[in-house]
């Protein structure tokens, strides 16, 4: 009697234990699911801002982040999960519904001997990273041993952001503004067939295509040296990206006097302009742009300084256009249409390794001045905004030297197009927008450098400047 009851008791106890264990497992699974976070980080920037290199270095260093130790190249000491040693593992994966960012081919080029900068990308692409870490917060620590933050890093051309202002304009308004701009400064020196188009000429697909080609060529010439301009609309003419209706791009600015005639090329272009807005610009904002939680905008401030006053001013104009995309003053129609969920925006001046470390502070201040309006006021963005100076791949080293009786910090590296390591005094970055005297004095001449050789070693990180701080600002708060 007592033995059977003991057996029964034993069985019940075992069952209860099993039930308890599986309930515990389920609870832990649930907690892990609840703590798991996934978000989209966008990386953008006008062409030549170093987006591709940035993404390649970021993904590579992130991939190695849990394994690299202090002092190893590519280590991220200012990224909290790394600093606290709570990051366990990072894995990378392509995102399902996006073209994959060509991470591995780009990495191969960077690690090659001699190393090469990867080619720039032209469209929308992305890559995912899953960061597994041990939670440190009170709640997280009680619930799970480790959990995962998944970030989808999406890269898109900053040129596309310049299209947002088009949504508020009619074809006539846009044409007038663009023509006015085309008659000023360096733009006026460039000839283009599109300037001669007669708005009243009969429309045909051939003529429209001719106009598109001519205008695209003109925009490209504006973008290339020696002009180096940035405020070039519409952005898709330069960076079309995949999967769009190219027929919608068949337009260019025309000088209109009154309502276009029926069947004229002007009327056809007006129709294309509207189609462009409706089928390309609007969907990009509605389906892609509004889905970003964090945004990083790369700006080639140093390139802008090198290119001279007009190009620099144009870059500022383009930045203002970019900023309109983020601005959220509640009055604008656009603001209400595209209330993006972006919580943080980081503007970063790239290629910080072109100047000495003591100039980073000024570089940040200058970038801030570029983004701000003329009174120094930052537009209301509605997201936490910060500024940074960074370099995705650090090509130079800082050295203290005695030169002409003064102690100065110089850069040491191999200047692009040369072979030997040389020392260079790069000069100073102004903390305010450069004055006309600054431009006249020919102050800015920053050299490009050859990337350091990483000897095809994939276990080595890529030396960087403040990549970790940017990462900490963008996603550091996700790690509890």
């Amino acid at each position: 009697m007592s033995s059977t009851s003991d057996d029964l008791g034993q069985t019940i106890r075992t069952l209860a234990q099993r039930l308890g264990a599986s309930l515990g497992d389920a609870a832990r699974g649930l907690a892990e699911y609840a703590l798991r976070r996934r978000l989209r980080v966008a990386v953008t920037g006008l062409s030549r801002s170093g987006k591709t290199v940035f993404l390649t270095a970021l993904l590579h260093n992130l991939h190695l982040a849990a394994r690299l130790k202090e002092g190893q190249t590519g280590h991220l000491p200012f990224f909290d999960p790394v600093a606290k040693g709570t990051l366990e593992d990072v894995s990378l994966w392509p995102i399902d519904d996006l073209p994959a960012f060509p991470f591995l081919p780009n990495l191969d080029r960077l690690l090659d001997t001699p190393p090469e900068f990867p080619p720039s990308t032209t469209g929308l692409s992305g890559f995912g990273a899953a960061l597994r870490y041990r939670p440190q917060g009170f709640l997280g620590r009680q619930l799970v041993d480790s959990t995962t933050v998944e970030i989808e890093i999406v890269d898109y051309p900053g040129e596309w952001l310049l299209d947002l202002p088009l949504l508020e304009r009619t074809y006539a308004e846009w044409s007038a503004a663009t023509l006015r701009l085309a008659e000023t400064g360096a733009r006026a020196t460039l000839a283009g067939d599109w300037r001669q188009i007669d708005p009243d000429a009969p429309a045909s697909e051939d003529a429209l295509e001719q106009a598109r080609l001519s205008y695209t060529t003109w925009l490209q010439a504006c973008r290339e040296p020696p002009l180096n301009l940035s405020f070039l609309q519409p952005g898709r003419f330069l960076r079309p990206g995949g999967g769009i209706d190219l027929a919608a791009l068949r337009f260019c600015p025309l000088s209109l006097a009154g309502e276009p005639k029926r069947g004229s090329i002007a009327e056809a272009m007006r129709e294309r302009f509207e189609r462009y807005k409706a089928t390309i610009v609007r969907p990009f904002y509605e389906t892609v742009f509004s889905g970003f939680d964090r945004q990083l905008v790369l700006v080639d401030v140093i390139g802008g300084l090198n290119a001279g006053a007009e190009s620099f001013a144009d870059m500022r104009r383009a930045l203002a256009g970019v900023l309109q995309s983020f601005a959220r003053d509640d009055e604008g129609l656009l603001a209400r249409l595209f209330r993006s969920r972006t919580e943080k925006v980081l503007f970063a001046a790239t290629k910080a390794d072109h100047v000495t470390a003591n100039q980073f502070h000024n570089l940040r201040l200058l970038l801030r001045a570029m983004v701000a309006d003329d009174t120094g006021q930052l537009p209301a963005v509605g997201a936490e905004t910060d500024f940074a100076a960074l370099s995705a791949i650090k090509c130079t080293a800082n050295r203290r030297v005695l030169y002409q009786g003064q102690q100065i910090t110089v850069l040491e590296g191999v200047i692009k197009g040369r072979r030997e390591t040389e020392q260079l005094f790069p000069g100073e970055i102004p903390e305010h927008l450069p004055t006309p005297e600054d431009w006249a004095a020919d102050r800015f001449r920053f050299y490009d450098f050859v990337p350091p050789s990483l000897a095809r070693d994939r276990a080595r990180g890529i030396p960087h400047i403040h990549l970790d701080k940017a990462l900490q600002f963008l996603i550091g708060d996700l790690f509890w």
């Binding site: 000491p77 200012f78 470390a357 800082n398 002409q404 040389e422 260079l424 000069g427």
Partner: protein, 336 residues
């Protein structure tokens, strides 16, 4: 600055510049007299005229030394009268004692100076950490590294820090890195020392059969803990400098707000639940443990070269409950 020629940007001709080795990442150690003079605050009261107390101590020491030397002289002279060999032996013995005494005094004095300079570094660290602007702190970083490298655990961590510090990090970042890479692990070690000491004193005080013995145990164990903590942060104190450190701790504690937290803790720990469960002797032990824990935190605050970040402060309640929790738990059922 104004009279120097502005150097034009450009590539420097080969051989035109003389390298200043390591100047950016790791400058020459600069433990300057200026820094010490500026950094060590005068903890004492404002100077009053003639210091009679000091004069008394000095004259007494001189008197005793004089008596000793005269006595020894007479004694050695006496020995020489008896036999030259005895005299030589006596002189040698006295000489050895005198040399050892001098050496001892010298090393203690050096150690005191070291402690003073370490505290100068600490005071500067506190100031730098609170200052808002950018600072030229590379020389200070070298001092910090040199100080902390004197600790056995700190040496390896300082190597890590040196590795992690890049030429592109500014001074503030260097300070942050030092905090993250070197100080946090050292803090953990110090907390461990506090936990052990709190446990030991609690156990010692609760099982000591005689009244005076527990006080002696607590004193001895606490001093050992303070020395351990000082060593963890690279201070390497000896007798006198340990005494000086403890004195400074007490002076600071007397003026700081943290004094009150002990009442808090004891209340939280001994109030109601626990106090009702444990015997009077054990409660005494726990009280001693809590006090040791508090002393330990004061010691950390005196030895740590940089102030704690706001969210990083040591939590006495947590520390003590970690080390005493098991004690309370193990004791509680027995007393029931």
């Amino acid at each position: 600055m104004n009279d120097t020629v502005r150097i034009k940007p450009g590539i420097l001709p080969t051989g035109a510049a003389t390298p200043i080795p390591g100047a950016v990442v790791e400058p020459e150690p600069s433990l300057p007299a200026v820094l010490q003079a500026a950094a060590v605050p005068d903890l004492g009261r404002p100077r009053r005229g003639f210091r009679w107390g000091r004069a008394l101590v000095a004259s007494a020491v001189l008197l005793i030394a004089g008596i000793g030397i005269i006595d020894a002289g007479v004694w050695i002279d006496d020995l020489f009268v008896r036999s030259t060999a005895l005299g030589v032996v006596g002189t040698a013995l006295f000489g050895a004692v005198a040399a050892a005494l001098l050496g001892f005094a010298g090393s203690e004095y050096r150690n005191l100076l070291r402690l003073r300079s370490a505290q100068g570094i600490r005071d500067q660290g506190y100031r730098l950490a609170q200052s808002a602007g950018t600072f030229e702190g590379r020389g200070f970083m070298a001092d910090l590294v040199k100080l902390t490298s004197a600790s056995p655990a700190g040496r390896a961590l300082c190597d890590d820090f040196r590795d992690a510090l890049a030429d592109t990090h500014d001074d503030r970042e260097a300070l942050q890195l030092f905090e993250r890479i070197v100080l946090r692990p050292l803090d953990e070690l110090a907390y461990g020392a506090i936990r052990r000491a709190a446990r030991d004193t609690a156990v010692g005080a609760s099982i000591s059969p005689v009244g005076g013995l527990d006080a002696a145990i607590v004193l001895w164990r606490s001093m050992r803990m303070v020395r351990e903590i000082a060593e963890i942060y690279g201070l390497r104190p000896t007798r006198l400098s340990l005494f000086a450190l403890v004195r400074r701790m007490i002076v600071t504690a007397a003026f700081s707000v943290t004094t009150d937290m002990v009442g808090d803790i004891v209340g939280a720990h001994l109030g109601g639940r626990v106090a009702g469960l444990v015997s009077g002797k054990l409660a005494e032990g726990i009280y001693a443990g809590v006090r040791t824990g508090r002393l330990g935190i004061l010691a950390i605050e005196q030895c740590r070269p940089l102030p704690f970040a706001a969210d990083d402060r040591p939590n006495l309640r947590q520390l003590v409950s970690q080390s005493l929790g098991s004690l309370i738990a193990s004791a509680a059922p027995e007393t029931r």
